[in-house]
């Protein structure tokens, strides 16, 4: 439902000294486009170095680059490094394709780790509680962004936002082929894939750069005020 729109927009049009006409899409004719030049000339390996370097500047953010055959080992190691105990993760076919199902369906349980796979058959409260009780959350990112050390997460049925937010540490797996110079390229692709194709964006698109931080005490950037305290990105070299 949309309420009070006509009067509101007519007042704005009056302020702008013209009648209100919602049909005329304004032409954007930017004289400057500095964002397209930044880092756009780098090769994929140069981008990878830039990504690793930037993650080094973020608080508590680790990057591991592995081939697809080694992802399982890398994820297992990362889970152990973050203290193991309990893991929440997305219900995501991409994990299965990388052979991680052996970890979360068998091996971890055998080792005594608690595992919660996001479950749309359970209530949201149950999903929240199990995720909140987990030490580590594992998600799969659509993009990695070199300049800012960012991973981009989409929400979906099996992809609960809470998994990246509630546990103490989060692990994001991302394909190297989705590494982009900066946010510029990622949003351009989203515009094409969703907006221009007449599709609605996922309910949440989250650009996440490292763990939760706060600068509210003396402008000193410290970790972990609400969300995760640690982050590990596992970059899968799939090319």
């Amino acid at each position: 439902m949309i309420q009070n729109r006509e009067k509101f927009l007519e007042k704005i049009a009056t302020s702008l000294n013209r009648p209100f006409s919602p049909t005329q899409k304004p032409v954007r004719n930017w004289q400057h486009k500095p964002e397209e030049k930044k880092l756009s000339h780098l090769s994929i390996d140069e981008l990878m170095s830039a990504f690793v370097e930037q993650c080094g500047r973020l608080n508590n953010t680790n990057v591991v680059e592995v081939s697809s055959g080694d992802v399982k080992k890398a994820v297992d190691e990362a889970v152990k490094q973050h203290g193991g105990e309990s893991v929440a993760l997305w219900n995501d076919e991409r994990f299965r394709a990388l052979g991680l199902d052996e970890l979360y369906e068998n091996e971890w349980a055998d080792e005594g780790l608690r595992v919660h796979v996001w479950d749309s058959n359970l209530s949201r409260t149950e999903n929240f509680e199990r995720t909140n009780d987990s030490n580590i959350g594992i998600v799969f990112a659509e993009y990695a962004l070199a300049e800012s050390g960012t991973v981009v997460l989409y929400s979906a049925e099996g992809q609960g936002k809470a998994v990246g937010l509630l546990p103490n540490a989060f692990i994001a797996i991302v394909k190297k082929s989705t590494l982009r110079p900066r946010i510029t390229q990622a949003v351009k692709e989203m515009e094409r894939e969703f907006v221009e194709a007449g599709k609605t964006l996922p309910a949440a698109v989250d650009f996440v750069s490292g763990p939760s931080n706060s600068a509210d005490i003396e402008m000193d950037l410290v970790v972990g005020v609400h969300g995760p305290i640690y982050a590990t990105y596992i970059v899968v070299s799939d090319q």
Partner: protein, 477 residues
């Protein structure tokens, strides 16, 4: 809490705050810390001036086509399953939000930081209908705990407190151990454990909106803490409130402005979280809000849009101007007596809340231009302050009579060379008997205000033009 904090005169608020040594120390050190970080972050882009021009052209284009983009936004929010409410006044906005909350029979409201909800006193409106409202931004949370202390900065609301004072608040209100550490990291970690239960119980989440995105019907939220992420994930109902000018055409412009915002505000390439929310959760999703409401507020903005202060609406609320302001540095945010402080506050507050209570603010600037220089979207802040002064003097006729007479004298005296010459000679002569050691330390008349603080140096007695006359007579060079 609305825009205005108290009924004291500006001078009294300033004098009170000048006595607050803790505040002044905290603000000065925050400014010093941010100065280098911001410069490094913008220099790193390599062509900051081009970015600024781009930021400016985006914001100007949006303002020039604001009616269209708000129309497009509302269409797309609705298409994504959300509701849009256009509110002319704070009362309309609050009444709508109250009705949404009451319909859910909710009482537990969680907020992530939003200046516009401060502007409309939303917390009070929700408390009136029996809700508990919890601020989750660490800075806002500290203020709320400390018996509703007021924000003194648009990005870092509790910047006027140092970590020892914050620890004291935690000891008093949350049972933090007296001998516990006052390290920022430990204080933040402590809040994490306390707030987690509140997140899990929340029924309604309320956020602001950094930039709405017209073509996708989204809102974006920029935080470091991830609190906006949680506030838009756990509660079943989400309400976002935005000032009507906080909008961009597409994700592409959102990206540019968010980059400029985070670099200018805190010297980061991106903050830890940028959340782009489009409508309520999809039917098959488990988390995210089941209902999404967007409230778009005018509250005087359309009047600003029509006038000579239009460019202030370009503001992206990064507070770079606040962080470089040498006046803010000493008097702190509370002196401005407004939720919007610093140079942007001195321009915006009189526009939103009138000259009656805020006509001193435009004079609380030495016009040093540091604000204009730092603004990522090129708002000519010091020129707007000057424009306010012009309006106050020439349109509103609110200047003191004595000042008006003095300026009239100035206009006559300074524009006639003979009068100017005689006048300045008299000035020099009049000052002579007052001076010792070629300095005046006790002035009279207009000079008194000067010599209350500093001596008035007279280095030479001979006027330059007289020296020139003599020299030419002597046939000097």
């Amino acid at each position: 809490m609305a825009i205005k904090y108290n009924d004291n005169a500006f001078k009294d608020n300033v004098n009170t705050n000048l006595e607050r040594d803790f505040m002044r120390g905290a603000v000065t050190s925050a400014q010093n810390r941010l100065h280098g970080g911001r410069l490094k972050a913008v220099d790193e882009l390599g062509d900051w001036e081009e970015w600024r021009k781009h930021g400016e052209e985006i914001r100007q284009h949006v303002l020039d086509n604001l009616d269209y983009y708000l129309y497009e936004l509302s269409e797309n929010v609705e298409k994504a399953g959300g509701h849009v409410f256009f509110a002319q006044t704070p009362e309309e906005a609050n009444a709508y939000i109250q009705s949404v909350v009451q319909k859910q029979q909710a009482t537990r409201v969680l907020k992530s930081k939003s200046m516009v909800t401060e502007e409309i006193s939303l917390n009070e409106a929700l408390e009136e209908i029996g809700c508990t409202v919890l601020e989750t931004d660490l800075g806002e949370y500290i203020l709320q705990l400390d018996d509703h202390d007021k924000p003194s900065h648009i990005v870092a609301p509790s910047v006027h407190k140092n970590r020892f004072q914050i620890k004291e608040v935690f000891v008093k209100k949350l049972g933090y151990p007296e001998d516990g550490s006052a390290d920022a990291k430990d204080l933040a970690r402590f809040v994490r454990t306390i707030l987690r239960d509140d997140y899990m119980q929340a029924e309604v989440g309320i956020t602001g909106c950094n930039f709405a995105i017209a073509d996708s019907g989204s809102i974006s939220l920029v935080t470091n803490e991830g609190n906006a992420g949680l506030v838009t994930t756990i509660p079943k109902t989400q309400i976002a409130v935005m000032g009507m000018e906080r909008i961009v055409p597409s994700l592409e412009e959102m990206e540019v402005l968010v980059n400029m915002l985070t670099r200018s505000a805190v010297g980061q390439k991106l903050t830890s979280y940028v959340n782009v929310i489009t409508g309520p959760k999809r039917a098959e999703d488990v988390d995210g809000p089941e209902e999404f409401h967007l409230v778009i507020l005018d509250n005087g903005r359309s009047d600003i849009l029509a006038g000579e202060f239009k460019s202030v609406l370009q503001c992206i609320r990064c507070a770079a101007c606040v962080n470089v302001c040498p006046v803010y540095r000493h008097i702190g945010g509370h002196s401005y007596n407004s939720i919007y402080s610093g140079p942007i506050g001195a321009v915006l507050t009189p526009l939103l809340a009138g000259y009656d209570d805020f006509k001193e603010l435009p004079y609380a600037s030495s016009l040093c231009g540091a604000c204009t220089d730092a603004c990522p979207v090129k708002i000519p802040l010091h020129e707007l302050l000057l424009k306010h002064r012009q309006v106050i003097v020439e349109k509103e006729g609110r200047a003191p009579v004595s000042e008006g007479l003095m300026m009239k004298g100035f206009s006559v005296g300074a524009s006639n060379s003979t009068l100017f010459n005689v006048g300045t000679k008299i000035a020099a002569a009049v000052m002579k008997p007052l001076s010792k050691d070629q300095m005046i330390s006790k002035g009279v008349g207009p000079l008194k205000d000067w010599t209350d603080i500093r001596d008035f140096p007279i280095v030479e007695r001979e006027k330059l033009r007289d020296w020139f006359d003599k020299r030419e007579k002597k046939g000097g060079k």
